[in-house]
């Protein structure tokens, strides 16, 4: 098992290095620079600015210097917000994005697995078709459409919920969490339905029923555990996806999270911030993938013995 984990960790290094390199050079190819404004900056001032941020060095030297700083965990100063470091900006945005991701995940788990289970109990009836059609719509509908629709309905028409913000007014966390979680809820619904259908046809379920157990016990106690396995292994990458994919929701609802910083950094050509967030998020994704692989290996006895015999 340890060999498996350390092997995966070693594999992650070139992946992250490639991400850094590609991003580093790509942001510099984009037209415009971090110090451009409608008021033209005189060459003397531009040179002074570039010197303060090491942009006067040759590109390769900038790259190696950046890698050096990165090795010490320093993402460098933000170009757009003088006086603030990228570490500080990520530190400010991450807790908000993580909280949003967590609520979205909880919503997705609750709504997704419940509708999946309900659908699996009477396959190919209305009880199956309705939640699965909703799930299909949920998968297909992008957040930039669902968000404004929910705002229009609950925020403006019914005036039940705040239209934006995060932690300012009670209830303002609901719409963003639902918007972000609904796509995932749909996936989970389909996964749990498939898992349930497979498990429900197993012999041990027939045994449970033959014992005369009530249906809720058969489903809740015996079937559910097996059925949710594929869902659990899906959660790691899904959470990483929520963290890195929340920028649309954060922009719609004006949430001060990492995603919004990321989008603004791109518009501002804030090189260090773009790089910092990209590196940070890709590391996170690699990490969550690793965790879910380990989890899958650990939950699946066949894989577990395979690794055990190798080590």
């Amino acid at each position: 098992m340890w060999r498996f984990i350390s092997g995966r960790l070693l594999q992650a290094i070139p992946v992250i290095l490639a991400v850094i390199t590609v991003t580093f050079f790509l942001v510099r190819v984009a037209p415009g620079g971090p110090f451009d404004s409608e008021k033209a900056v005189i060459p003397e001032v531009k040179a002074a600015l570039e010197k303060q941020y090491r942009l006067d060095l040759p590109l390769v030297q900038q790259y190696t210097a950046y890698l050096g700083d990165l090795a010490q965990g320093d993402f460098g100063p933000s170009f757009k917000y003088p006086g603030r470091s990228v570490n500080e900006l990520i530190g400010a945005g991450l807790p908000v994005t993580a909280e949003l991701g967590l609520y979205a995940l909880l919503f997705a788990m609750l709504v997704g697995s419940l509708s999946g289970i309900i659908a699996s109990l009477r396959p190919n009836t209305m009880q199956d078709y309705v939640p699965m059609t909703l799930a299909m719509i949920g998968i297909c509908m992008p957040t930039f459409l669902l968000g404004p629709l929910l705002v229009l309905l609950f925020g403006i028409e019914l005036e039940w919920l705040p239209v934006s913000g995060w932690g300012d007014i009670p209830g303002d966390k609901l719409l963003p969490s639902i918007t972000l979680g609904s796509g995932l809820a749909a996936y989970i619904a389909r996964l749990s339905r498939a898992g349930m259908l497979e498990v429900l046809s197993q012999d041990y379920i027939r045994t449970a029923r033959a014992k005369g157990l009530p249906e809720w016990q058969v489903v809740g106690k015996h079937a559910l555990r097996g059925a949710l396995l594929p869902v659990i292994t899906f959660l790691g990458p899904a959470f990483a996806g929520l963290l890195s994919g929340s920028f649309v929701v954060e922009t719609i609802f004006q949430i001060p999270g990492l995603g919004r910083f990321y989008v603004q950094a791109a518009f501002n050509r804030d090189y260090t911030m773009i790089l910092g967030t990209t590196v940070f998020l890709s590391t996170l994704i690699v990490f969550f993938n690793l965790v879910s692989d380990v989890l899958a290996a650990w939950l699946n006895p066949r894989l577990r013995t395979q690794y055990a015999s190798k080590s």
Binding site: P31, D36, K39, Q52, P82, G83, R84, L161
Partner: protein
């Protein structure tokens, strides 16, 4: 069923949420705290680093320049200096600082603080993009451009602890306006040096806890993308005239969100309001909308180095075919003042030169004379603008006017802001949108268009124009003569027509009736000292109007 349960849950939580407690506005009125929608997250609070309105709005609460300004009349009034006097030939000003002036940590504020701060602001290593506000000081331009590296060569003389003599670069009656700008505010040397080099942009000195300023307020808390809270500075010399106890600056990028927050009593005032909302706010029985002209000019730039725009008759024909009145009244919903002048309409004490108005017949005649009768054979050209709905609407309308009146098919295209700036920098365009905002002084608009002007992206070069701006205006200390010379410079500019003026900007923002002291003014400036809240007033209520 589960879906229904969750919907009911959502609804219940929402209802509880919405009815909980009093609004920000009501609480703010009672406690003397103003909730202000401030556009984007301020980049910095360092007056020698920042530029842009959200930063300025915050900084004017935290710092005070040597001179202040009245938001109603725009007259210059005491700032840190309690009085000042010009010498006889108006080449120098002596400032007498208020002996009561202090920093927010209680340290006395002295003439030396100004000398040091202005040297810092002009230091080329600082990378200060707004340093030109201080170019009224003799030697400032040379020092900033690195032509003379000695900061002591600046025309700044500390006479005693509270007296500062400033030599001017030329006898400029408008010099004092520049010294009211926040970019010229003093900064606290010991605090800055405690957190790094004096010219470091990447410094922690403006963070809550470290910050020391000299304005009516000081930083209390700053959560990125959430708020900046400032509270009254107990050491401020004019504290008895500061009515507010604090201000909460909220960064809200979307003007629609800002408007919704205003409507629900979360904000006392907004920075702006979307054009589409203005007609409905104009009809509200209790007015919340403030409108008024301000010194900003919206125009199109012609690339005079590319055919067919290198031809003056072509440029004039395009200008004559634009019906600005219709544009302002329909597309812009009366939120702009149509103007064929480059210097904004309403510039005090300034007489605009006569300009070409809307004259489609003359336009067709000029176009035919240039070799394109009825638009035939006119090369393909493109009008570009940075991505924004308002710019698109204007571009579409003008494209249509050129088609109707001149039979020209001109393409329009948008570009993301940074790409757009890059395109302008490389002069890789035919016609491009631009705007310029300033103050009640035509020099802000005209000085920059001299051949060597750094912000002259037009490629406009005219010896007569340069002579007026660089020699004739600087040779006179008489304000009236200067105004007449500026009008002459504008005439020269518009005769050459390297740009097509379209309209003068207006201020438009929402403000609670419970607040006073934030009028619309020509310089679009706020002086927080003037703002008062009525402690008993309720929040403004939206009235639904039948269509």
């Amino acid at each position: 069923m589960n879906l229904r349960t969750s919907l009911v849950l959502i609804a219940l939580t929402g209802l509880i949420g919405c009815s909980a407690g009093e609004s920000n506005v009501e609480r703010g009125n009672r406690e003397g705290i103003l909730y202000f929608g401030n556009g984007t997250e301020p980049q910095s609070a360092d007056p020698h680093v920042l530029s842009g309105s959200p930063e300025v709005n915050l900084a004017v609460a935290l710092f005070e320049p040597i001179l202040g300004r009245n938001p109603y009349t725009l007259a210059i009034e005491p700032g840190v200096a309690e009085r000042w006097e010009f010498n006889e030939d108006r080449t120098a000003v002596t400032f007498y600082l208020n002996p009561e002036a202090r920093w927010s940590n209680g340290d006395p504020l002295t003439a030396e603080d100004f000398r040091w701060s202005w040297q810092r602001a002009l230091n080329p290593a600082m990378g200060n993009t707004m340093a030109n506000s201080l170019f009224v000081i003799r030697g400032a331009e040379d020092y900033h451009y690195g032509r003379n590296p000695d900061p002591d060569a600046l025309g700044l003389h500390v006479i005693d602890q509270h007296t500062l003599r400033v030599e001017l670069s030329y006898p400029n009656p408008f010099a004092l306006i520049r010294l009211t700008y926040i970019y010229t505010a003093p900064v606290h040397r010991a605090t800055i040096e405690a957190h790094g080099k004096s010219t470091d942009r990447y410094s922690a000195w403006t963070k809550p806890g470290n910050f020391v300023g000299n304005g009516p307020f000081t930083i209390d808390d700053w959560k990125m993308q959430r708020f900046v809270i400032v509270r009254k500075n107990p050491y401020y010399w004019d504290r008895d005239n500061v009515a507010l106890n604090g201000i909460v600056f909220r960064p809200i990028e979307s003007s629609n969100t800002e408007e919704k927050m205003f409507r629900s009593g979360q904000l006392h005032a907004t920075t702006t309001i979307a054009n589409t909302k203005i007609p409905i706010y104009r009809q509200q029985p209790e007015p919340a909308l403030t409108e008024g002209p301000f010194m900003g000019s919206y125009y199109y730039m012609f690339n005079t180095r590319r055919p067919p725009l290198d031809s003056l008759p072509v440029r004039r024909a395009l200008a004559l075919a634009v019906d600005r009145e219709t544009l302002a009244n329909t597309v812009l919903a009366g939120t702009a003042i149509p103007s064929a002048n480059y210097v904004p309409v309403g510039m005090p004490d300034y007489t605009h030169p006569a300009v070409l108005g809307f004259n489609p017949e003359e336009a067709r005649r000029l176009l035919a004379g240039a070799g394109y009768p009825n638009g035939e054979g006119f090369p393909d050209i493109t009008l570009i603008y940075n991505t924004l709905e308002n710019h698109r609407s204007v571009a579409v309308a003008i494209q249509q006017m050129w088609k109707t009146h001149l039979n020209l098919d001109i393409e329009i295209a948008n570009q993301e802001w940074m790409v757009y700036l890059d395109t302008l920098e490389n002069r890789d365009y035919d016609i491009a949108r631009m705007g310029w905002t300033g103050d009640i002084y035509p020099g802000v608009f005209l000085d920059r268009l001299v051949t060597t002007g750094t912000s002259n992206r037009l490629g406009f070069a005219n010896a007569e124009y340069d002579d007026i701006i660089l020699n004739q205006i600087r040779a006179t200390g008489d304000a009236e003569v200067q105004m007449a010379l500026y009008a002459e410079a504008e005439r020269v500019l518009l005769d050459e027509m390297p740009l097509l003026p379209i309209y003068t900007y207006t201020n438009k923002f929402l403000a609670q009736p419970s607040m006073e002291g934030m009028p619309s003014n020509l310089s679009s400036m706020i002086n927080w000292k003037y703002i008062k809240l009525d402690p008993d007033a309720p929040a403004w209520k939206w009235t639904s109007l039948d269509p």
